[in-house]
């Protein structure tokens, strides 16, 4: 009997009858309740409104990811132009004016330090409020996003050391810091005791 003849011997009706006679229930081999019970003790029920918030957070995550990409792209562009300035600096350093820091530079030193301290404090407060979670518990994709933003911030800080009067760089630093804080705020609820551990039960 060839394949076509085989198929014709079972009609749609026969197949439909077999589907209708399939058992509605199957019994799992292991006891699933113990794991579920443990998991729901760690997972509080959520109200409908909380789900709405979750959805909005999810919608917000994509723009943040885009922002991180934009920062990375701007930074790459910036750094690709920076060697030109570095070549100019040794020439200006020969003058006595360049050897002595001006008042403006001192003010900017303090401003950069203040921005950095402010960011560090905010970040630390955020981590403490979530019980100092291990960020390595986050999914790899999210860790990568965080790392990219952190690397972008460090690169901007490094660039600022060479060009302290650059307002654009200062703004870029504050923007990057804010993106990093925003991302952390979204991701921290996914770490620590609230992380989904029950799948491994």
């Amino acid at each position: 009997m060839n394949k076509q003849a085989n198929v014709e011997s079972i009609t749609d009706q026969v197949l439909a009858d077999k589907v209708n006679s399939l058992p509605d229930e199957m019994t799992p081999e292991r006891d699933l309740w113990a794991g579920i019970e443990r998991a729901i003790q760690a997972k509080p029920q959520q109200s409908t409104s909380e789900f709405v918030v979750d959805d909005s957070k999810r919608k917000y995550f994509t723009p943040t990811a885009w922002a991180a990409s934009v920062v990375a792209a701007v930074l790459v562009t910036w750094l690709s132009f920076s060697p030109v300035e570095e070549q100019v600096k040794p020439l200006t350093a020969q003058t006595s004016e360049a050897n002595q820091p001006s008042n403006k530079t001192v003010v900017n030193d303090e401003l950069v330090a203040m921005i950095q301290n402010n960011f560090t404090e905010q970040r630390q407060a955020m981590l403490v409020s979530f019980g100092q979670p291990d960020l390595k518990q986050l999914p790899l994709k999210m860790q990568t996003q965080l790392t990219q933003l952190a690397q972008a911030r460090l690169a901007i800080e490094k660039a600022l050391q060479n060009d302290k009067n650059n307002v654009d760089l200062l703004n870029l630093l504050r923007f990057t810091q804010q993106q990093e804080l925003n991302l952390l705020q979204q991701l921290l609820p996914l770490t620590g005791s609230q992380a989904p551990k029950w799948q491994t039960i």
Partner: protein, 201 residues
């Protein structure tokens, strides 16, 4: 009181009992939630097994379904039957699990490969697991992933192709063609079984 009235009364009692458990579970009662689990877990497991075609994954995902149910139970407003709503939650959890498990590239390869590997898959299903299964269930497990998902959702769970297309992020036409592919394969395999049975007699 005749037998049909007795059955009606029993159904009414069971339904009101379920409503009570749902209300208590919404208030955070794990005992009531356990009763709901006892009532529904075998149906949910059957759905997971048919969609995933793997015992271990089905057990894990079945657990995941009930943890999600615990979190989302406040979203159930009684506009449909609880079992219908629960099955839609379960279907979405299974599909979410599949999305997490495989990236699109792996899935493309598995779709193309699975049809040619039905024999291997049949051998891969442990005998002690498949021996108690219906003949049709064994064949459903051998279907390529997309065809299997469409077939189970359409023929067993009663979803419309428009709904399935939305759930699986595919065109309605693709859902219909996957369904026809699944039907053809199942009819072919069932016919082969019938021919073998006749030959043995």
């Amino acid at each position: 009181m005749n037998s049909s009235q007795v059955i009606d009364a029993q159904n009414l009692f069971a339904s009101s009992q379920e409503q009570e458990w749902i209300a208590q579970a919404k208030q955070g009662s794990q005992a009531a939630f356990h009763q709901l689990y006892q009532l529904h877990h075998k149906r949910v497991y059957a759905l997971c097994w048919r969609m995933l075609a793997d015992k271990d994954s089905a057990e894990d995902v079945c657990q995941e379904v009930f943890v999600v149910l615990w979190q989302k139970i406040n979203n159930f407003r009684g506009e449909s039957k609880f079992s219908t709503w629960l099955h839609s939650v379960a279907s979405n959890v299974v599909l979410g699990h599949l999305r997490k498990q495989k990236n699109w590239l792996q899935r493309v390869f598995s779709i193309e490969d699975q049809a040619g590997k039905s024999q291997e898959i049949e051998e891969a299903i442990p005998l002690d697991d498949s021996s108690e299964l219906e003949e049709l269930d064994k064949h459903i497990a051998k279907l390529p992933e997309r065809a299997r998902l469409v077939f189970v959702l359409f023929a067993v769970e009663g979803y419309r192709h428009e709904e399935i297309a939305n759930m699986l992020n595919m065109a309605v036409g693709s859902s219909k063609s996957q369904y026809h592919r699944a039907k053809s394969l199942l009819k072919e395999w069932l016919s082969e079984d019938a021919a073998l049975g006749e030959a043995n007699e």
